[in-house]
């Protein structure tokens, strides 16, 4: 013993008491030692004194001593070795509680030198007549495997565990399954990877399946979660077996514990893939809805997890809760995180029948106090308008009502949303433009300003004082944010193309300011391009700037189909809460063959997309000599020229390529691997023929749209969005994911 307690002070007094002749005094001293230990005081010097109290009839005292040992086992393994004899003795105690306690404590001492002594007692415990000892021992095997796997294999503990799956006590079965699953996980993430024939790999055979299905109905809730998780890993032989599993698991929906319910939902979602009978699938989906709804009467934390999972399930099975929208109505006292999820789900559940109820709720929410929630509610109105065409007019009316409140952030958000509605339904709601313009003065957020400017530019021919309205923005051009500058520029050019007679002056003014006094290269470059276009070929300018735009739509999913499938397999795990595959946040996660394959296709998609974009740009350059820089403006402004010199070779090309490789979303790749799949897919899909030419004019709009539309919505604007748009283009999905943290 190198450490000696000093002769005075607290530890000395404790040491005296620990050696007292009175049992109660000793026990009290142990308690005080533990108390000091838990507040971080070093009481390791009392080790020998505490150890003397280990052999006692008093179970409580024994437990406290064990607690002490566990705490110091890691830092002072040489001391713990002194306790080995007592442990071994306790593991043969007539009282099963003491036997189990000894095994459990030895298992978590995690000291190299003690585990060699663990094997014999463990071997006995695994065959103990008492189920409490057996189930404790089962978990201990997993711990031992983690520390020294060779000991487990050499002692035949693995095969003993496999035998224990047939144990008569359901709790022993459940703990055995949990232990085998733990060992399986350790083995399958090992370096180098173990072969699939390794005994540590827990392959669930049909025989095991039957055993654990029986145990499922009889064990505790935690045991059920372990069994259900094992069931979700089982590969069914045929459709009949899938049906059988689903039928046996469905009753678990009625368990009071939410984690059992969610684990059961996961098993059903996985094994439903193997079922082709449509009516059976429908029946399962129908049965899934009530327990999920029941979870919503739980505490808010549980609600939140449930809502995140419901959100995911709805993307796969939109019919899941089609009649249950009212359940998701937000209460005033709900925490914000619950409200936000409910809102998202409500919009997802919207259809022709319930849209009125939804809109009056959203209007209600828009009058609440929390600014974030109000904004999200107004956004939701826009999403509803875009996804349900028949409701658009009602949505617009609600938005007008909200603008009427003149609450600054309400008005601004409503204007942003109106822009999206104009995008979706062009030339339908021009009647509201005067109301919007009347609020021009109140807008102070760049996004709202930019939105209104876009609307003015888009409908310039129908707004009598469009030049006047835009003029105010041109006056303050240099003070505005880049987003507003880009929009002002485009809007004024649109105005000029639509009303060339009255707006010659203003277009001259804006191009002049943008090229001379503006410090953003994006704004300057766009001004040059417009200038060039207008001075070379106004017809081409018209074709580019006023081109017809593809309508926007709101995707029903926020994650790509492949990722959705994967996440549904991980329902009731962190992955499904974050809506990201597990390997992106569990560093050492194992990446299965299918995941690698999927990543492969992602890459090739990206590549094909880049190629396509590149070809488009080259074609564009050849066809429309857009970048002829012999014209006046470039020469007038040497610094501008210097900047544009680089342009002729690769301006758009570079940005197009950056649109794919340095696409703002790609920043996410490192963090959120899987998400790039969705953007790449969506982006490629939107690269429609005939759209190429307009990408320049719409770049900024795209950037703008990307910020307001739901996640991959930005991508539906096509490649030009990411190339020329503001870095905000990827903001939607980014925000969605980062918002989680």
């Amino acid at each position: 013993m190198s450490i000696r307690a000093p002769r005075k002070g607290e530890n000395y007094e404790l040491s005296v008491d620990l050696n007292s002749e009175y049992r109660d005094k000793r026990k009290d001293a142990i308690k005080r030692v533990i108390a000091s230990m838990t507040v971080g005081k070093d009481v390791s010097g009392l080790f020998p004194d505490v150890l003397k109290n280990m052999q006692t009839e008093d179970l409580e005292q024994k437990k406290l001593v064990y607690l002490y040992l566990m705490n110091y086992a890691k830092t002072q393994p040489e001391l713990v070795i002194l306790a080995v004899n007592t442990f071994v003795k306790d593991s043969e105690d007539p009282n099963p509680l003491v036997r189990a306690l000894a095994i459990r404590t030895m298992g978590c001492l995690r000291a190299e030198r003690i585990i060699d002594y663990l094997c014999d007692p463990l071997n006995r415990a695994l065959r103990d007549e008492n189920p409490y000892v057996r189930k404790t021992a089962a978990l201990c095997v997993a711990k031992l495997y983690d520390l020294k796997s060779s000991l487990v294999i050499d002692n035949g503990f693995l095969s003993r565990l496999h035998e224990m799956i047939a144990d008569s006590n359901p709790m022993v079965v459940a703990n055995t399954v949990a232990a085998l699953t733990d060992i399986h996980k350790i083995a399958s993430t090992a370096h180098p990877p173990v072969p699939s024939s390794d005994p540590a790999i827990f392959n669930i055979t049909p025989h095991i399946l039957n055993k654990i299905l029986i145990a499922l109905n009889e064990c505790t809730e935690w045991g059920r979660v372990a069994v259900l998780n094992a069931l979700s890993r089982y590969t069914t032989q045929d459709e009949k077996e899938s049906e059988h599993i689903c039928e046996r698991v469905v009753p678990q929906f009625q368990h009071a514990n939410g984690s059992v319910v969610l684990a059961a939902v996961k098993v059903i979602m996985i094994h439903m893939r193997g079922i082709r009978r449509e009516d059976f699938t429908k029946q399962l989906v129908r049965k899934m809805a009530p327990p999920l709804v029941t979870l919503l009467s739980s505490p808010p934390e549980v609600q939140w997890v449930a809502l995140r999972n419901v959100n995911l399930l709805l993307q796969k099975r939109p019919d899941l809760l089609s009649n249950e929208m009212r359940v998701f109505f937000c209460k005033y006292n709900d925490p914000l995180y619950v409200k936000v999820e409910k809102l998202d789900i409500m919009v997802r559940l919207a259809n022709d029948n319930n849209v009125d109820a939804l809109l009056s709720e959203l209007k209600e929410y828009a009058s609440e106090v929390d600014v974030d929630f109000v904004r999200k509610s107004i956004k939701a109105i826009g999403q509803t308008a875009i996804s349900i065409e028949s409701s658009a007019e009602r949505c617009v009316n609600v938005l007008l009502d909200l603008i009427g409140t003149r609450v600054s952030y309400v008005v601004q958000e409503a204007v942003v949303v109106m822009k999206d509605i104009f995008r979706k339904y062009p030339s339908t709601y021009e009647g509201v433009i005067p109301t919007l313009c009347a609020n021009l003065e109140e807008l102070d957020e760049p996004e709202a300003k930019a939105s209104l400017i876009w609307i003015i530019g888009e409908y310039a021919e129908k707004i009598d004082n469009a030049d006047e309205l835009l003029g105010t923005f041109v006056d303050t051009f240099t003070e505005e944010s880049y987003q507003v500058q880009l929009q002002t520029l485009t809007a004024v050019v649109k105005l000029f193309l639509k009303k060339p007679d009255s707006s010659q002056g203003i277009v001259q003014r804006v191009l002049d300011t943008a090229t001379k006094d503006c410090d953003s290269p994006d704004v300057r470059d766009r001004a040059y391009i417009y200038w060039r276009l207008l001075s070379t070929d106004p017809g081409a300018a018209k074709a580019v700037v006023l081109a017809h735009r593809p309508p926007i739509s709101i995707p029903r999913t926020t994650v790509s189909p492949a990722l959705l499938e994967e996440l549904l397999g991980e329902i009731s795990s962190l992955a499904s809460v974050y809506h990201k595959p597990a390997e992106t946040f569990i560093g050492h996660g194992r990446i299965g063959a299918d995941a690698v394959q999927r990543k492969g296709t992602e890459l090739s998609d990206d590549h094909a997309f880049a190629q396509k974009a590149f070809r488009t740009v080259v074609a564009g350059q050849q066809a429309e000599n857009l970048l002829d820089f012999d014209e006046a403006p470039a020469q007038e402004e040497p610094s501008g020229l210097a900047a544009t010199r680089i342009l002729p070779s690769t301006p758009a090309t570079a940005s197009f390529l950056s649109g794919t490789s340095a696409n703002p979303l790609d920043d996410l790749v490192s963090i959120f691997g899987g998400m790039s799949a969705s953007s790449a897919h969506a982006g490629a899909g939107a690269n429609r023929p005939g759209f190429d030419g307009v990408s320049i004019g719409e770049g900024a709009l795209g950037g703008l749209g990307g910020t307001t539309s739901p996640p991959p919505g930005g991508a539906s604007f096509g490649p030009g969005v990411d190339a020329l748009g503001s870095p905000n283009a990827g903001h939607g999905p980014q925000e969605d994911l980062l918002g989680l943290f």
Binding site: T38, Q61, Y132, V133, A142, W304, V305
Partner: protein, 451 residues
């Protein structure tokens, strides 16, 4: 792979209990405590933060690369469970809830004081309910009571005495040590063998809670009734019970305690079960009214007529609360958030139209919680179809005050049931003794009334 560890933080964010984390470096729990405290510091005054906090770590050593901190608030404390890997966060929350229930069962109130005072019991409990590999074990209080002896009055007294009475102190320990063997030989995890009671009784406590949102026009926007059947079973041996209802079809979307035989319920709509000993929740259900159409529009037993005028730097209001019940209503609480900038309120109470019995305490009282900015109106009891009026005004620092657009109404209805659920009979088989059965019905409501 599972619950890595468990921490309880006091009101100042300092750990009072910390357990688990055996296979992790000491920095790991600290990271989680830090993450939670940081979030709390960033949160607005309400202290509401996401229930799951992602905790990134630099990796290295045995540290998981990414883990999550799941936490719940218990009075002034926060309980947090660290999870990593692919664990269901709901397991963490369900476990925290179970842990909290156990603590409550043991100590009555769960507070910093009781936890600090009984830390040895708390640690023993944690050892029993959470395996060091992170798997939750036994969380059934009736079984735990045999393994970990609850602090009784006697043992507390003894502990406070100078340790000079060794002979008395022994009685708790060794005897229990010998009796416990039976607890785990039981074939069912929620009940031990050899339970003995002098008088055998089982009490059913059915509580139905109506939750509803009422729109500004008085129309019900959403409503449902959630019923909970709590049991207190004090039966000897292995009693096999069969409870049947005269109207089981009013129960929908049931969730039951694991002891209920689900197949039997599905087949015959009767509850067949061997109950755990002591208090437990037998099941939960939603009230399904006979006519499907009214599912979302159950009649609301109360009405509120707010008349609110918002002016500059405050406003005035007249709120009339009416009971539509033919029975007496108790503990009515009406809360109204007056907005972040509210500074005070002044009210008068009167009972309109009720005439008799509206004197003194029956009229209720009002308070303004200046910290939470909530105006609270409490009426201890209401006669059938009576109504009460609260008139007053409030002041605010804001030019345009923005009070909440919703009143929160809570009320209790003793011996009333929304669903009229009736337990027909409870039969005992497998045991020969006579048992006493008791059923109590009560209801409460939690209504959000918008204006």
């Amino acid at each position: 792979m599972a619950i890595d560890g468990l921490i309880i933080l006091d009101a100042n964010g300092r750990p009072i209990i910390q357990s688990g984390y055996t296979s992790f470096p000491p920095a790991y729990p600290l990271l989680h405590i830090d993450a939670l405290n940081n979030e709390l510091a960033k949160a607005p005054s309400s202290g509401i933060i996401d229930p799951i906090i992602y905790v990134a770590s630099g990796g290295g050593g045995d540290m998981p690369d990414g883990s999550a901190c799941c936490h719940i608030q218990v009075r002034e404390m926060r309980m947090l469970a660290s999870i990593s890997g692919d664990l269901d966060p709901l397991v963490a929350f369900a476990f925290l809830q179970a842990f909290h229930d156990i603590l409550q069962d043991y100590f009555g109130t769960v507070s910093t004081v009781t936890l600090k005072g009984n830390f040895d019991t708390v640690y023993q409990l944690i050892e029993e309910i959470l395996d060091s590999s992170g798997h939750p074990l036994t969380t059934s209080p009736s079984i735990l009571r045999d393994i970990v002896i609850p602090p009784s009055l006697l043992s507390t007294l003894l502990a406070s005495l100078p340790a000079s009475a060794p002979s008395v102190g022994r009685s708790g320990g060794p005897t229990s040590l010998n009796n416990t063997g039976g607890a785990f030989a039981s074939p069912i995890p929620w009940r031990k063998v050899g339970v003995r009671h002098n008088s055998n009784e089982i009490l059913f406590d059915v509580t139905e809670e109506m939750r509803a949102i009422v729109g500004r026009n008085g129309a019900t926007l959403a409503s449902n009734v959630i019923g909970t059947i709590e049991c207190n079973s004090r039966l000897s041996g292995m009693p096999d019970l069969l409870a049947s209802f005269s109207n089981p079809n009013v129960m929908a979307e049931c969730a039951f305690h694991p002891c209920v035989r689900l197949q039997r319920w599905k087949r015959e709509q009767t509850l067949s079960f061997i109950p755990p000993d002591g208090k437990f929740v037998l099941g939960e259900y939603q009230y399904a009214p006979p006519q499907k159409v009214v599912v979302n529009n159950l009649p609301i037993p109360v009405a509120l007529k707010p008349n609110i005028i918002i002016g500059e730097l405050g406003g005035s209001f007249t709120v009339t609360f009416t009971s539509r019940m033919m029975k007496a209503m108790e503990n009515v609480k009406i809360e109204w958030y007056l907005g972040e900038d509210a500074t005070g309120a002044q009210c008068t109470l009167s009972g309109a139209g009720s005439g008799v019995g509206s004197t003194g305490g029956a009229e209720g009282s009002w308070t303004f919680d200046s910290r939470k900015k909530i105006l609270r109106w409490e009426i201890p009891s209401m006669h059938s179809s009576g109504s009460r009026v609260l008139r007053g005004s409030w002041t605010s620092k804001a030019q345009v005050p923005r009070p909440a657009h919703a009143f929160q109404i809570r009320f209790e209805l003793p011996s009333y049931s929304f669903s009229s659920l009736k337990i027909d009979h409870v039969r005992l088989s497998s045991e020969t003794y006579k048992m006493y059965k008791g059923v109590r019905m009560q209801s409460c409501g939690s209504i959000e009334w918008r204006w």
